[in-house]
């Protein structure tokens, strides 16, 4: 019954958590579906980790309720909740071997030794650490410790796995590799993952859906493509990727509207100075004020005639660095499709 697909894995109803005057989490409503890879994305202090800790049971809401597959768990202690956590610092028990660490959840539940050994082996295989059972955490690399933490959290077959910025301490290469691996493990075990991160790329790579947090509130929930292509607020547009915000006088001239819009830099193209405006596009004229050559692509800062700046990026498909650098100071005409802009709320 619990795994009925219509019952959300996790449901927040009007959840708030206040620390004195600070509203760390402010009236959050969210539903996380069964089997979903759900990311909570936001800058530090935005309330995403507090939300995760309330699901884990390390913190309780000031008001509101949290449901785990329909059961209100808001007031339950961590050991009575069927969720497990991968901690940011891994929190491996330093005095135990890798095997003992992974077996811990079974040990405290008094699972028979033979069963424990078998399941520890399965878990270590899942995270590709077969043969590491007798090592101490201090003998492992950061990436290996992270895998142990993952195996330890998964061995109880939790209904929901919580990951608190687990890749933050790894270097870039390893982080990218682990992103792929985490996603594969999630598919393999079929457990709902809630992933907390401040790294937008991480969230976009792995998630089925993303909730963008800002100042204790959720700004937007949606799939990675929705979040990226159609940000609904200026905060989301600016936090996830880079965006040009068009508003005020300049906006009025370009779009004939007083609304606030965002447009991604890669959707804007340089066109010939005399190119006519299509009915499905917007165009502006300006001056290229700055050029930054970044290898794969070049970033231009264009000062629009009559005020305002636009950031434009263009892939260096044919041009060399000398060619792109010569564009500095030149006049330019920019054009982008109407469908590529997103109307922003406040």
């Amino acid at each position: 019954m619990a795994n009925n697909s219509s019952t959300p894995a996790i449901q927040f109803t009007k959840v708030s958590r206040h620390f004195g005057d600070i509203r760390a989490v402010d009236n959050v409503d969210v539903e996380i579906k069964d089997g979903e890879f759900f990311s909570m994305l936001g800058p530090s202090g935005s309330g995403k980790t507090t939300c995760l800790r309330m699901v884990a049971g390390f913190d309780t809401p000031t008001s509101g309720n949290i449901f785990l597959y329909g059961q209100d768990v808001s007031q339950l202690p961590p050991y009575d909740r069927d969720v497990n956590t991968v901690f940011q610092d891994y929190a491996l028990f330093p005095h135990m071997t890798v095997g003992e660490n992974v077996a811990y959840g079974l040990m405290v539940k008094k699972v028979a030794k033979a069963e424990r050994v078998k399941r520890v082996d399965e878990m270590l295989e899942l995270v590709q650490l077969t043969g590491f059972a007798s090592r101490k955490p201090s003998q492992l690399s950061g990436g290996q410790r992270q895998r142990v933490a993952l195996a330890r959290a998964l061995i109880n077959h939790p209904k929901v796995l919580l990951l608190d910025e687990p890749l933050g301490a790894l270097d870039l290469k390893l982080r990218q590799q682990m992103q792929v691996e985490l996603k594969n493990i999630q598919r393999e075990v079929g457990i709902t993952f809630i992933f907390v991160t401040h790294d937008q790329e991480e969230a976009l790579t792995m998630s089925d859906r993303i909730a963008v947090f800002n100042q204790g509130k959720i700004e937007q929930i949606g799939s990675p493509t929705e979040i990226y292509e159609h940000p609904q607020t200026a905060f989301v547009a600016g936090f996830v990727g880079v965006s040009n915000i068009i508003e005020g006088e300049v906006g009025k001239r370009i779009t004939n509207s007083t609304n606030k819009f965002s447009i991604r830099p890669e959707k804007i193209h340089f066109v010939k100075p005399d190119q006519n405006l299509d009915s499905d596009s917007y165009a502006v004229n300006g001056n290229i004020r700055d050029v930054v050559y970044l290898g794969l692509y070049t970033r231009y800062l264009v000062e629009i005639d009559g005020g305002g700046d636009l950031v434009v990026v263009e892939q260096n498909l044919k041009s060399t660095s000398q060619e792109v650098m010569r564009a500095r100071g030149q006049a330019a005409r920019l054009m982008w499709k109407k469908e590529h802009i997103s109307k922003l709320g406040d």
Binding site: A56, G57, F58, P77, P78, Y79, V83, N84, T85, F87, Q88, D89, A91, L92, F93, P94, H95, Y104, G105, M107, V108, K109, K136, P137, S138, R152, A153, N156
Partner: protein, 276 residues
């Protein structure tokens, strides 16, 4: 062990520095050597150098002919043992409270817990005597234990708190998260992590209690602990060699736990540093 690799790269000490170090050691341990030396003197009442002869008879006297000495020794061991036990329990609880929660007045409580070790023993002693007397509690074995516990708690508290602070706070959360209740978490995660701190703190507490004179003078009834017994021996010049024997035994009993306590703290800091 760990210093081996660094020793070879360090510059050599100058002669002056070596002499200074040697002088300091001599200053610290010379008097104890004298005590040790004069346990073998055949001359009872005077200190003459070189020794007029050599005898081990005072060890025999101390061992077999002085039941008062043995009563004092046993009492001291009992007081130190129970004070240490009390300190281990209270000190650990206090450290856990100060480490884990952020309550009003936490810093003040931390300060008040440490204060007794800095307070002159004479002040602690007179305060306890007044308080115990005012409450009409008879002076006994237990009042000595209470007196000693005031400073024994501090060393355990300090040791355990330092260990807690080095421990990653999330291991306790991880344990609860994996299904362990508070008792299991303490048994399987907290205790193994603070075990050496408890041992080190306990040994220091034992050593402190074992040679305490001032607070004991104020809180004892008719009981004579070993340090007080030694103190009372000063007025009996003929007993000097026996007193020296006892002093030698006390030096051993006190030094060994401190030696091991230091070794334990050093070892555990080694392994924890290695895990980072």
């Amino acid at each position: 062990m760990r210093s081996n690799s660094t020793d070879s790269t360090r510059p050599k000490a100058t002669l002056g520095l070596k002499l200074a170090a040697f002088g300091t050691i001599l200053f610290l341990y010379g008097p104890m050597l004298v005590i040790f030396l004069y346990t073998f003197t055949p001359e009872e009442a005077t200190y003459t150098f070189p020794l007029p002869g050599f005898t081990t008879k005072w060890y025999g006297v101390a061992l077999f002919e002085r039941p008062d000495l043995w009563r004092a020794l046993i009492l001291s061991v009992q007081v130190a043992g129970i004070s240490t036990l009390v300190a281990l329990i209270l000190g650990t609880l206090a450290a856990a409270a100060v480490y884990r929660s952020n309550f009003f007045g936490r810093e003040s409580i931390s300060f008040l817990l440490i204060l007794p070790i800095a307070l002159p023993g004479i002040v602690t002693g007179i305060a306890l005597r007044t308080a115990i007397g005012g409450l009409d509690i008879p002076f006994s074995f237990w009042t000595i234990v209470i007196g000693h516990a005031t400073f024994c708690v501090v060393v355990v508290y300090n040791n355990v708190l330092a260990r807690f602070r080095r421990m990653s706070g999330s291991v306790i959360e991880a344990s609860m998260d994996l299904g362990a209740n508070s008792f299991q978490t303490f048994r399987y995660v907290v205790l193994p992590n603070i075990a050496t701190a408890l041992l080190a703190g306990g040994m220091l507490a034992f050593a402190l209690s074992f040679d305490e004179v001032i607070v004991t003078t104020f809180t004892a009834g008719q009981q004579t602990t070993l340090p007080i017994w030694i103190f009372s021996q000063l007025v009996r010049p003929r007993d000097r060699p026996v007193t020296n024997v006892v002093a030698t035994i006390v030096i051993l009993i006190t030094l060994l736990p401190i030696f091991f306590a230091q070794k334990l703290s050093a070892d555990s800091s080694d392994t924890e540093g290695g895990s980072k």
